[in-house]
């Protein structure tokens, strides 16, 4: 058995490296001359994680090893792994990008991602450790009808994981393509194959270590960049921000965001506006709705919940959340400097010229700080940050795939299909590995099929479903005596259907008429803008001319996008739901779907009766609070 795995592993490594190095190249952020550095750094990180996987593979013998690393992870290790699991490319690159483009609002956005862990710490982590085994449905099945719980729980886990996974795969494909110019499809396959190698052979042991390694690399990279950005100001916050708001590139960005009202503002006022709210978030209700989904959704994320089964005790679970909060929060504070530093040194327009969402802010800042696009050090630092970004995607995807695979193998196959009969350990591990391959293949397929789709809102949707369905169910089964099977089934259905349904009729999906109007507006305004830019190009002031060149590139991009959009919606009048305009005005459904999810659990519990739920309440409540038998729960 062992030797077979090792042989597979060797083939896996060889395969991934061949795929990456034999890839067809397009234009990426790294110039051709220095691409070898990128591959060297990538190869080093892949080799390190593969070696860890090789060591881990020897330790994975039982289902408990595969799903929860045998419960043998320490609180400190788990804290780093949670941070590695949680800091996805969306937060690593996305938040720095938002800050570089919109200033204050980007930083404000990051706060919710940390506050979410208060909920995890206070009400979820320890009780789940005390009564759970491998998966989220395990917790629901403790006192409620196991078969029903495993079916609805698994459906919800798979739904949430698929949304999040799709966003990660598509985002990862685009990212790797932008950074080093590998074809999109090959990027997606490389991410998928590498992740499969970790999870398949090393299970939770390898996944945990890959997440720890990635989190450490991420923190090191950010610390180095922040040092370089902040040191010239003697680590003074006002001095640093003074320079940011005084930068003409930043002022020009604010002027273009504000439009006409900017005409009456001085350069200093424009710069200061970058540190004030309102450049990105326009609808406060929508933002509160997103905040609710983050703060309550994280506690219902299956891949995060699963991490608490890897530690031996409730005390270690608590310790791991505190560590995770220190690392995640510290990282977001560093992001403030990365985002503002990128805005000052690289400039919002230059960042947006490489990637419209601003995702390249961090990598481009690294390149600048190392000495620029033509220097060796600059390209080395860009390569390092790119490799960390790549490791980030792989680590997050590994956690998600493991969560989805455990729902299929542990809950559906062992729990429902075998109805709780004793399934030999060998069979359980095999089922888990087969489910991993299925989910991994699915992730790659969806990733390739969704090429070119706008999937950014899928992350918010995953959090909305987790907050509206999983969170009320887990919270109430743990803390409310009357909660029962009927309530959980109803809550899961109502929460999931509402979150997904409201999103389908929200402004997130494409409305051909609105797209056409927006594209037409861009094309109509083109001529006026072009003549203004041409006038600026002739300016004798170098920074004005430089800004105009970037604006021109931006305008060309916008015009091309408008033409593409027009072609895409040609002859279409209605959205996929058959609507001409959104029926629900908010982009985030949380503010409606979370309260109704809770209400559904309450109503369902009061309407139906389940003797098992009532009988097992004293046992569950005593155990979740005291940890009686918790040490024995992992062994059977």
């Amino acid at each position: 058995m062992q030797t077979t795995y090792r042989r597979w592993l060797a083939w896996g490594i060889a395969g991934v490296l061949t795929v990456s190095s034999g890839a067809a190249f397009a234009q990426g952020a790294v110039s051709d001359k220095y691409r070898w550095i990128t591959f060297l750094v990538f190869a080093a990180i892949i080799t390190l994680t593969m070696y860890v996987t090789y060591l881990a593979a020897k330790r994975v013998k039982s289902a408990s090893d595969f799903y929860t690393a045998g419960g043998g992870v320490s609180g400190l290790q788990n804290g780093w792994a949670i941070a590695g699991d949680y800091l996805s490319a969306a937060s690593f690159l996305g938040i720095a990008g938002l800050i570089s483009q919109y200033g204050y609002d980007g930083f404000m956005y990051s706060v919710g991602w940390l506050v979410a862990y208060i909920t995890v710490l206070l009400v979820i982590a320890e009780p789940c450790r005390n009564i759970g085994r491998y998966t989220l449905p395990d917790i629901l099945a403790y006192r409620n009808n196991p078969r029903a719980m495993r079916v609805v729980g698994a459906i919800s886990v798979i739904t949430v994981s698929t949304f999040y996974l799709t966003a990660q795969m598509v985002g990862g494909g685009v990212l790797v393509k932008t950074l080093i110019g590998i074809d999109y499809e090959i990027s997606v396959i490389a991410v998928g194959v590498l992740m499969l190698a970790y999870v398949l052979f090393g299970g939770m042991v390898a996944t945990t270590w890959v997440q720890i390694i990635k989190a450490i690399l991420l923190v090191i990279a950010s610390l180095v960049l922040v040092m370089l950005v902040w040191l010239p100001y003697g680590f003074s916050l006002p001095a640093f921000l003074q320079d940011v708001v005084g930068d003409p590139k930043v002022q020009a960005k604010v002027a273009s965001l504000l439009g006409d009202p900017a005409k009456n503002m001085s350069a200093a006022e424009l710069g200061q506006r970058f540190l004030e709210p309102g450049l990105y978030f326009k609808n406060p209700i929508d933002q509160i709705s997103l905040g609710l989904a983050l703060v309550f959704g994280t506690a219902g994320m299956p891949h995060i919940l699963m991490r608490f089964f890897t530690v031996p005790t409730a005390q270690q679970a608590r310790k791991s959340v505190v560590w995770a909060m220190a690392i995640i929060g510290g990282f977001y504070v560093l992001t403030l400097f990365l985002g503002f530093g990128a805005a000052k040194h690289v400039g919002p327009a230059a960042i947006a010229a490489v990637d419209a969402g601003g995702n390249m802010a961090g990598p481009l800042l690294a390149q600048y700080l190392g000495g620029g696009p033509e220097s060796f050090l600059g390209n080395f630092m860009l390569a390092f940050v790119s490799a960390v970004a790549f490791a980030t995607i792989v680590a997050v995807v590994a956690g998600l795939v493991l969560a989805a695979a455990s729902a299929i193998a542990h809950d559906l196959y062992v729990g429902v299909y075998h109805g709780g009969d004793v399934v030999p350990p060998q069979m359980q591990v095999r089922a888990a590995r087969i489910a991993t391959v299925v989910v991994g293949a699915m992730a790659i397929t969806i990733g390739i099929a969704a090429k070119g789709q706008n999937v950014a809102h899928l992350v918010a949707l995953a959090f909305a479903v987790a907050a509206s369905a999983n969170f009320p169910c887990v919270l109430l089964t743990l803390y409310w005596r009357r909660c029962n099977t009927g309530g959980i089934v109803l809550g899961m259905i109502v929460g999931t259907v509402l979150a997904v349904g409201l999103t389908l009729v929200s402004p997130n999906v494409t409305y051909p008429q609105a797209v056409r109007a927006a594209a037409q507006k861009v094309l109509d305004g083109e001529a006026a803008k072009r003549s203004a830019i041409e006038a600026a190009l002739a300016s004798t002031e170098t920074h004005v001319a430089e800004q105009a060149r970037l604006d021109l590139a931006g305008l060309d991009k916008a015009v091309k996008k408008a033409q593409d959009d027009l072609a895409k919606v040609e002859g279409k009048e209605r959205s996929i739901m058959g609507l001409e305009k959104p029926a629900f005005e908010l982009k985030n459904p949380g503010i409606i779907s979370i309260p109704l999810g809770f209400l559904a659990v309450l109503l369902g519990s009061l309407l139906f009766r389940d003797k098992r739920s009532e009988d097992l309440w004293p046992e569950l409540y005593a155990r979740q609070n005291t940890g009686i038998l918790a040490s024995k729960a992992t062994s059977h």
Partner: protein, 107 residues
Amino acid sequence: MATAPNIDWNAVIADPRFQKLHLRKQLVLTGLMVFSVFYYFLLPIGAAYFQDLYKVKVWGVVNFGLLFALSEFVVAWGIAIYYSRVANRDFDRMAREIAADYEKKGG
């Protein structure tokens, strides 16, 4: 799932020590949870409806809004540290006593 017939669970939750633990936990958890959610939502609500306050420069170009956003981090860490101290000091000890007692009885 794992049922342990040897332990009288009704006796555990009726035990005065458990009742005391339960009450104290409920107080601390509910209090901290409500406070943290309230404090968090002050940020986006303030950013939307009290922009003039957020724009007030406090420390060079650093304005109130920026300091308030930074305070969210400090408050979140503060809550985490406070809760762990209480839990490490009191809850764990109380829970361990109850657990040891009933696990022995249940044999």
